[in-house]
Symmetry: C2
Subunit: 214 residues, 2 copies
């Protein structure tokens, strides 16, 4: 037992080893199964096998913990988008490549919202404590956040001639609106639990709509 007292295990020594990590993991697990409201500080400390107040050595408040979980969730969303982007054949003609990029970021976004509703909701749970630098997103794997990835895709589209310059400004928000709305209906709204096939179908039609209507 060279290394004991790890993240989820109930440690035996006074010191924990990496309590911050353990609390974050617990917070992520809680958010995964219930969204941001389910991230309760005392429960996280319980899972880490530590007294409630120990958390305050690593997070200044419950909200601070939620923020950390949100940063994680946002990076996961970014990764989901990047994964879809990576599937695009590089040899595609410019316009097709750009269109595929827009669809890819949308698909990744929708996919994550369906696969991890709780974390998705945590990632884009505005409402409270929105500080400018955190919003709309934190880091991704490529160093870009979800919003930046969307902007990039739309810029590709504009450059390739698929998006008239006069419609460029604010296009991120229009596309984001459409995709975000469907993501919510699917992840926690009336479309929750919809069969996979129908969900993908609806996602594709929504992206058609965005592409045609932008």
């Amino acid at each position: 037992m060279t290394e004991e007292a790890k993240n989820t295990a109930v440690r035996r020594s006074y010191r924990h080893g990496d309590l911050r990590r353990a609390l974050l993991d617990a917070g992520i697990a809680l958010a995964r199964s219930g969204g941001p409201d389910a991230v309760v500080l005392r429960e996280a400390t319980r899972q880490a096998g530590v007294v409630p107040n120990a958390a305050y050595r690593h997070f200044s408040s419950r909200d601070d913990l939620v923020r950390a979980v949100r940063a994680y969730a946002l990076s996961q969303v970014a990764i989901a988008m990047e994964t879809e982007l990576a599937r695009i054949p590089a040899e595609l003609p410019p316009l097709a490549f750009a269109q595929a990029s827009v669809r890819a970021v949308g698909t990744g976004y929708l996919h994550y919202a369906h696969a991890e509703p709780g974390l998705f909701k945590t990632a884009f749970f505005f409402h409270e404590n929105v500080d400018a630098d955190t919003d709309p997103a934190k880091a991704g794997r490529s160093g870009m956040n979800p919003f930046q990835l969307l902007s990039m895709a739309l810029e590709r589209l504009a450059t390739a001639g698929g998006l008239p310059p006069e419609r460029r400004l604010g296009a991120e928000y229009l596309a984001w609106s459409a995709v975000h709305g469907l993501a919510l209906l699917v992840s926690e709204g009336p479309l929750h639990g919809m069969p996979e096939v129908q969900r993908q179908m609806l996602g594709q039609r929504l992206l058609d709509m965005v592409e045609k209507g932008l």
Copy 2:
């Protein structure tokens, strides 16, 4: 003082008069300034000048009170939509009338989301306790809920030939997605506090997108 001890007033007699109404009013006020999470039962009873447990004679739980507030908020959304629908000149040619209808319901929805972010969020706060008959909405003034009003507008569009039959199925959800997404970005998201003009502009462009892309 023929009638005293009304809604917000702190009554003097043992009986309140209409505690249920007073609690609902308080709940609405709380939701208005902070969304569903701000609806705290004890505060509502405080505002009604009554002991906490008195609430349980009228609402079986806090969630029950929130549900009542949500029903109110939904009816207000419906009314906002109906108000916009009423502005449409009846003598318009069928297709134009149908298109105007779709825009009207979208505009009403967006307008309410901007004017009453807290209540809007309460109205469409899925996530918890979604029971089939309550979802997606409760009653409006015309007896229709927001979702039904949207469906009606889209049906007009389909009938007028503005929406190909093969694209009719699920069109409500596509349109709803787009509008709902923007409503969220505006009411509690990164677009919160955006100047009125820009907001309306963005709303119109979004509805353009929906119209062209559906």
